[in-house]
């Protein structure tokens, strides 16, 4: 990708980082949900009895 002025470069780079940030939020949510999914089962187990 070619940039004619520094503003172009910054706009492109910052836009990419904003998209990445959104993906990171989803990724962290997914990671946490994955890691704790079995914990919830353990916590919920006694409630059924």
């Amino acid at each position: 990708m070619e940039y004619y002025i520094y503003h172009d470069f910054m706009m492109h780079v910052k836009s990419v980082i904003y998209i990445l940030m959104g993906l990171f939020v989803l990724g962290f949510w997914g990671l946490w949900a994955f890691m704790t999914s079995r914990d919830e089962e353990i916590h919920k187990f006694p409630e059924h009895h």
Binding site: V13, I17, L20, G27, F28, L31, F34, M35, R38
Partner: protein
């Protein structure tokens, strides 16, 4: 007679013989370095003034000693007392790690009698090296005081032990502050050489990357060291330590997974901020992807799966891979991707004596560690101070 034979056999174990050989070779290299100079024992030159002694002994030593501040802050600052049994082994590893960093630095810098100059006589307050030196000097002192209760318990000095024990909380806070400062400063050192490091590894975020990566490095080192220590010192571990071992491993695995994910994110942001994506399609890119995917993302997922499935062996493998990955990262920044534009004839590769000296330093660490854990209350609580924390 039979007693003499038994004692002789117990001293000349394979581990002791290897230790003795490495120590003898290390001492010979030490004499050569301090009598004949750096040129005799190293491949360092004007292009590559810092080699494996900085890349491994210092950068890796400091990163892998981060288990001290991560474990003590988890236990004392975040109130996770279930990790208490891991604090002393972690503090010991951190203390030995930092003490050996200072020891190894003497070989690079030379003139050990001038060690106090940067702190007390000629402080270069505008230099990042001054900050690193000051922080390491202060943090080694903090770790020595943090570790001292184990020594006082061993020596039976109850009064002074109880006095020092009261300093635990302020020392932990100080430890976190100092670690944050110098872990990041080590990365910031390399911000000064943007033209020498390959763009995939160079980033204005190097300080952040070094600090963030030290957290999974420290947590992984605690798991890794616990795994290594479990077999030979099982008899020294009390019931509390053995009972809490799996809990510590699972809890730290979760923390390490999140920390590795955060490190991966900062790595991607660093890549995006300089728009260096096109380098990924080169040979250097393949090497970079191996580091970031193979030794950051893969152990992150292994930790996540291991903590979810309560799979301890998987977590231990993840810890080993993470420790190796951190070493690889520090090697890449300080040696492999450093001076990447130079022709191969001018590139740096450590001499056998440089590698030998690094092994010498590690051997000293392992020997002192073995001496301490075989005698002091590291894996067990001293009977007179049970539940004193």
């Amino acid at each position: 007679m039979s007693t003499e034979n038994t004692s002789k056999a117990s001293i000349w174990t394979p581990a002791n013989i290897i230790t003795a050989i490495l120590l003898v070779f290390g001492l010979i290299i030490t004499v050569l370095r301090f009598t004949k100079g750096l040129g005799t024992v190293t491949n360092l030159d004007q292009n590559n003034p810092w080699g494996i002694w900085i890349g491994f002994d210092l950068l890796c030593g400091v990163a892998l000693a981060a288990g001290g501040y991560t474990t003590s802050s988890a236990c004392y600052l975040f109130g996770l007392k279930k990790y208490h049994s891991a604090v002393r082994p972690a503090i010991l590893t951190a203390f030995l790690g930092y003490a050996l960093v200072v020891f190894a630095l003497h070989f690079d810098v030379g003139r050990p009698y001038r060690l106090v100059y940067p702190i007390f006589l000629q402080p270069g307050t505008t230099s990042l090296l001054f900050e690193v030196g000051l922080c390491v000097f202060l943090y080694v002192s903090v770790l020595a005081v943090e570790f001292s209760p184990a020594v006082f318990e061993w020596l039976g000095m109850k009064k002074i032990r109880n006095m020092v024990h009261k300093l635990t909380l302020p020392l932990t806070v100080l430890g976190v502050v100092l670690s944050t400062l110098h872990q990041s400063s080590l990365g910031a050192l390399y911000i000064a050489v943007p033209s020498k490091i390959h763009p995939l590894w160079y980033s204005p975020y190097l300080a952040v990357l070094f600090f963030v990566s030290s957290i999974p490095a420290g947590l992984s080192m605690v798991i890794f060291e616990g795994t290594l220590a479990h077999k030979p010192w099982h008899h020294m571990m009390d019931k509390t330590h053995l009972d809490e071992h799996d809990g510590v491993t699972l809890g730290f695995a979760r923390g390490a997974s999140i920390a590795l994910a955060a490190y991966f994110c900062v790595k991607l942001v660093a890549l995006a901020a300089d728009d260096n994506w096109h380098y990924l399609a080169t040979g250097w890119g393949a090497w970079y992807l191996l580091e970031v995917v193979g030794f950051v993302l893969v152990p992150c997922l292994m930790y996540a799966i291991g903590s979810r499935e309560k799979n301890i062996p998987l977590i231990k493998w993840a810890a080993g891979i993470t420790v190796f990955g951190i070493i690889l990262n520090r090697f890449n920044i300080s040696m492999v991707a450093f001076n990447w534009q130079l022709p191969s004839s001018q590139r740096y590769f450590p001499s056998l004596m440089e590698i030998g000296l690094s092994l010498f330093v590690v051997t000293i660490g392992v020997t002192v560690y073995r001496f301490i854990v075989s005698r002091m209350p590291i894996f067990f609580e001293h009977p007179e101070y049970k539940d004193a924390h």
